[in-house]
C-alpha cells in the first residue's frame, strides 16, 4: 500500500458548525459597543483612556501568564479583551491608571489564569476584580466623588447612593426614560440602559449568552423590588428604578451570563438568575452596600456547581 499522497485522518464528526471561542468573544465586544460609545460620548477622553488601558492591560496580563506558565498563547481567543472591556464598563471615567491595571490583574490572573485559564474559573473574573477593588478602594467607586468634575445636563448624583441615603424622595428627579437613555451617573459602560439591552438582545439572538439567566435575573430583581416597594414606598424604590440603575443591566446581560461560572441546565439557570436578582435587591435595600449586583453574582457563582447538579435524567440511564 505504498502511496505518495498523505491524507488527513481524524475521528468523526467531520463537520463543525463553525462556531468558535474567538467569534463568541468578538460578538460580545460588538454587543458592548452601544453602551461603551454612549459612555465615551458622555465622559470623553478620560473614559477612553480607562477603556484602552483596561483592554490592553488585561491582554498583557494574560500574555504574561501564558509565558510564566509555559502554556500556549491564548490572547487570540479574545477572552482577555472581553474581560478588559467589561471591567472598563464598570469603572467610573477618570479611574486612576493603577486601579485599572490592578483591576485587570485581579480579573485575569487571580480571577481566571490561576485556575487554569478559560473555562476553569469558578467566578466571573470581572466580578471578582471589581469586588476586590470595591472593597479595597471604595472611595474610587463612590461615583459622586469620582465624577465630581463632570457637570452634564442631568442630575449629577449616583441614583443608588441617593436612594440609599435619602430614600425614594431623593430619586424623584430621575425619570425612567432618562435612566434608560443613560442620563445618570455610573460606570463608563453601565449607564446607557437602552444600549446594554440592545447588546444583550443581540447576544441572546446569536445564542452566545443564555437568555434564561438574563431573564430570570431581571425577573428576580423586578419581583423582589416590587415587594419591597409595596411594603414601604418611602424607603424602597420601584422595580423599574432598580432595573435601570447601577450595574443591573450589565449584570443581567454581560456579567451573570459568563459561561464558565454559570449553569447550563434549564432549571439551574433559572434558579441562578433569580437568586442573583433577589440577592441584588436584598443587598441594595437592606444591606450596607450601595449596589448589590457584584456580590450577588459572586455568591451565585459559588453555588453554581451545586445548582448544575439539577439536571434532566439521561435517557437510558440505569437506576
Amino acid at each position: 500500500m505504498i502511496n505518495a499522497k498523505k491524507f488527513t485522518v481524524s475521528h468523526a464528526p467531520f463537520w463543525h458548525d463553525g462556531s468558535g471561542i474567538s467569534s463568541r468573544s468578538y460578538n460580545i465586544m460588538i454587543a458592548t459597543l452601544p453602551a461603551i460609545i454612549a459612555g465615551l460620548l458622555m465622559y470623553g477622553m478620560p473614559a477612553l483612556a480607562v477603556v484602552c488601558l483596561s483592554i490592553s492591560s488585561a491582554m498583557i496580563w494574560e500574555l504574561l501568564m501564558n509565558l510564566a506558565t509555559k502554556r500556549p498563547i491564548s490572547i487570540g481567543d479574545g477572552n482577555a479583551g472581553v474581560i478588559g472591556i467589561l471591567l472598563a464598563m464598570l469603572l467610573p471615567a477618570g479611574t486612576p491608571w493603577w486601579i485599572v491595571i490592578t483591576g485587570t490583574f485581579f480579573a485575569v490572573v487571580i480571577g481566571k489564569e490561576i485556575y487554569g485559564g478559560i473555562g476553569s474559573n469558578p467566578f466571573n473574573p470581572v466580578v471578582v476584580a471589581i469586588a476586590i477593588l470595591m472593597v479595597s478602594w471604595k472611595d474610587f467607586f463612590d461615583f459622586d466623588q469620582a465624577l465630581l468634575n463632570y457637570d452634564l445636563n442631568f442630575v449629577m448624583v449616583y441614583p443608588l447612593a441617593a436612594l440609599k441615603h435619602f430614600g425614594t424622595s431623593a430619586i424623584g428627579g430621575f425619570s425612567i426614560f432618562d435612566l434608560l437613555l443613560g442620563k445618570q451617573m455610573g460606570g463608563i459602560g453601565s449607564t446607557f440602559g437602552l444600549g446594554i439591552i440592545i447588546g444583550g438582545i443581540y447576544l441572546i439572538i446569536r445564542g452566545i449568552i443564555r437568555w434564561e439567566i438574563s431573564a430570570s435575573f431581571l425577573a428576580g430583581i423586578f419581583i423582589t423590588a416590587l415587594l419591597f416597594n409595596i411594603s414601604d414606598p418611602d424607603r424602597f424604590a420601584g422595580p423599574f428604578f432598580h432595573i435601570l440603575t447601577g450595574y443591573t443591566l450589565i449584570g443581567a446581560f454581560f456579567l451573570a451570563t459568563e459561561d464558565s461560572s454559570s449553569p447550563v441546565n434549564f432549571i439551574p439557570m433559572l434558579i441562578y438568575g433569580a437568586g442573583a436578582g433577589v440577592m441584588t435587591v436584598l443587598i441594595r435595600n437592606i444591606g450596607i452596600y450601595i449596589d448589590g449586583v457584584i456580590f450577588a453574582i459572586l455568591v451565585m457563582n459559588l453555588v453554581n456547581p451545586l445548582l448544575d447538579k439539577i439536571r434532566p435524567k439521561a435517557i437510558g440511564k440505569v437506576g
Binding site: P13, F14, W15, G116, G119, A314, I315
Partner: protein, 427 residues
C-alpha cells in the same frame, strides 16, 4: 458543511438528505484487477497454518474464504482469480482483520455452493454465505446462541447525513427488499418486522409485508437507538445493546441482497455507494465489494490532493481512511471526499462551559462535565456519574462545540478503554 445560522439561539437542524425524484442508474465500476477483502478474525489464526486458504490458491466468485473450518468468520470472494496475499490488518480502535487480496482474472467462474445450501435451508443459507453481502448482515442475528428476535428493523433510511444509499435501494429495488423481508421473516422467526422509511418513500415501502414506520428527517432520528426510542418506544438502558432487547437492525440493501440471492441462486456482490465529491455533488455507484477506492475515484474523475480527507460513511459518524487502496466493505454506504481547506480543525482548548452540547444532546448526557473527566482519563467515574454509557454516538456535541473539543472521539475512546479493562478483569 452546514454552518451555524446567524440566529444561534435556534438549535441547528441537520436534515437527512432526501431522494425525491426518479434516479439515474448507478454508475457501474468495472471489476478491478485486485480486490481486497477484510476478514474480521484473530490474525493469530494465520500463524497456526490450519487455514483452508493460502496464497496462490485459485478462488472462484462466490467462494467462501475462511481460515478455520466450521462456523467461523468468512468472506465471500467477489472475483475469480488467485489469492495474492494474506496479511494482518488493524482497523479503528484496534479491530483485527485479515486482509485477503485476490488478483482477478477476466473470465469469471461462479462457485455453486450457495445455490445448493440455499434450496434446503434459509437460515443456513444466510448464515453461511450472505453475512458479508452488500449492506452487511449483523452477525449476532444469525448466531446460534442469540435470544429470540422480537423485532427486526429494516432501515430504508441511512443513519447519517448526506447518504442516500438506502433510499436509493427502496426506490430502485423494492421488489428484492420485499422478497428479502419475506425470507428474513421465515429465517429468523422474528415476531415483528418493522420497515422504517422517510415519509416520501412511504408509498414505495408499503409493498413490503412489514409494518411501515415513518422516520423524522432530522438527524439523529435514524440512529438505531433513536429508532428504538421514538418508533419502538423502548429505551435501551445505558451499557446494553439493542440486541440485548431482542431488536436487530438490518439495512434495506442487505434485505435486497438476501432477496436477490435466493431468487437468482447467486450471491450479490455489488455494493451501492453514495460518493460525495468535494463540491458536494453526490453520485451513486455500484462496485464489487473489495474494490480499492482508487478505482472508484478514477472512474468518477476525482482528483485527490495531499491532506484531503477520505471518509467512509457519513460526516457525523463515518471514519476516515489513510489510503486510496482501502477496499469497499459490505457496509460502506458512502464515500465522502473532503477538501483540506474545508476541513474543520480540532483543538486542545478546555471546555468553556457554554452549554451548546447540553442543548443539542438527544439523550441529555451532561457533556460539559463528562468531557472534563474524559480529558483527565477518568473513564470509570465518567461512566458512573456522568452517563458516559447512555451516549448514542451521534457526534452532535463535537459538531457544535465552539472550543472544537473532539468530544465524540473522547467518548469512543473512553468506551473502548472501559470495554478493554472489563475484558482484562474477567481474564
Amino acid at each position: 458543511m452546514i454552518k451555524k445560522s446567524f440566529i444561534g439561539l435556534a438549535k441547528p437542524r441537520l436534515m437527512y438528505e432526501t431522494l425525491e425524484s426518479l434516479l439515474p442508474e448507478p454508475q457501474n465500476i468495472a471489476i478491478p484487477e485486485k480486490v481486497t477483502l477484510l476478514l474480521e478474525t484473530d490474525p493469530a489464526l494465520l500463524s497456526g497454518g490450519q487455514g483452508s486458504i493460502k496464497e496462490k490458491d485459485k478462488v472462484k466468485t462466490g467462494q467462501k474464504l475462511t481460515l478455520a473450518e466450521q462456523n467461523a468468520e468468512y468472506v465471500i470472494a467477489t472475483v475469480t482469480g488467485t489469492i495474492s496475499s494474506i496479511t494482518p490488518f488493524t482497523g479503528n480502535f484496534g479491530k483485527q482483520y485479515i486482509a485477503i487480496s485476490i488478483a482477478a482474472v477476466p473470465d469469471e467462474e461462479i462457485n455453486g455452493d450457495f445455490a445448493k445450501v440455499a434450496e434446503k435451508n434459509l437460515f443456513n443459507g444466510i448464515r453461511d454465505f450472505l453475512l458479508s453481502c452488500p449492506g452487511g448482515i449483523p452477525r449476532p442475528l444469525f448466531s446460534e446462541n442469540r435470544g429470540k428476535v422480537k423485532t427486526l428493523v429494516v432501515c430504508g433510511i441511512d443513519n447519517d447525513l448526506l447518504i442516500t444509499t438506502s433510499q436509493h435501494m427502496v426506490k430502485a429495488e423494492m421488489n428484492s427488499i420485499k422478497d428479502g423481508i419475506d425470507i428474513l421473516k421465515k429465517a429468523t422467526a422474528a415476531e415483528k418486522i418493522i420497515f422504517v422509511v422517510p415519509r416520501h418513500l412511504q408509498h414505495e415501502a408499503s409493498a413490503a409485508d412489514a409494518s411501515i414506520k415513518i422516520i423524522d428527517l432530522q438527524y439523529p432520528a435514524a440512529l438505531p437507538r433513536m429508532i428504538m426510542k421514538d418508533v419502538l418506544g423502548q429505551v435501551v438502558p445505558a451499557g446494553r445493546t439493542c440486541e440485548d432487547l431482542g431488536v436487530f437492525f438490518i439495512s434495506a440493501e442487505a434485505a435486497a441482497s438476501i432477496g436477490t440471492a435466493f431468487k437468482n441462486g447467486v450471491i450479490p456482490l455489488n455494493k451501492k455507494i453514495t460518493v460525495i465529491k468535494k463540491d458536494g455533488t453526490a453520485t451513486v455507484v455500484s462496485a464489487r465489494i473489495g474494490t480499492p477506492l482508487s478505482n472508484i475515484f478514477t472512474a468518477l474523475n476525482i482528483n485527490l490532493n495531499e491532506k484531503d480527507r477520505i471518509i467512509l460513511g457519513g460526516p457525523m459518524t463515518g471514519s476516515a481512511v489513510y489510503s486510496t487502496e482501502h477496499p469497499v466493505l459490505p457496509d460502506t454506504d458512502a464515500i465522502i471526499i473532503q477538501d483540506s481547506l474545508a476541513m474543520p480543525s480540532v483543538s486542545d482548548y478546555p471546555c468553556i462551559n457554554c452549554g451548546e452540547c447540553i442543548r443539542i444532546c438527544p439523550v441529555n448526557v451532561p457533556i460539559n462535565m463528562l468531557v472534563r473527566l474524559l480529558e483527565a482519563g477518568l473513564y470509570q467515574e465518567a461512566a458512573d456519574e456522568y452517563d458516559l454509557m447512555a451516549c448514542i454516538e451521534c457526534g452532535l456535541c463535537a459538531y457544535v462545540c465552539p472550543a472544537k473539543i473532539p468530544i465524540f472521539q473522547y467518548i469512543r475512546l473512553a468506551k473502548y478503554e472501559l470495554a478493554r479493562l472489563q475484558v482484562e478483569e474477567e481474564a
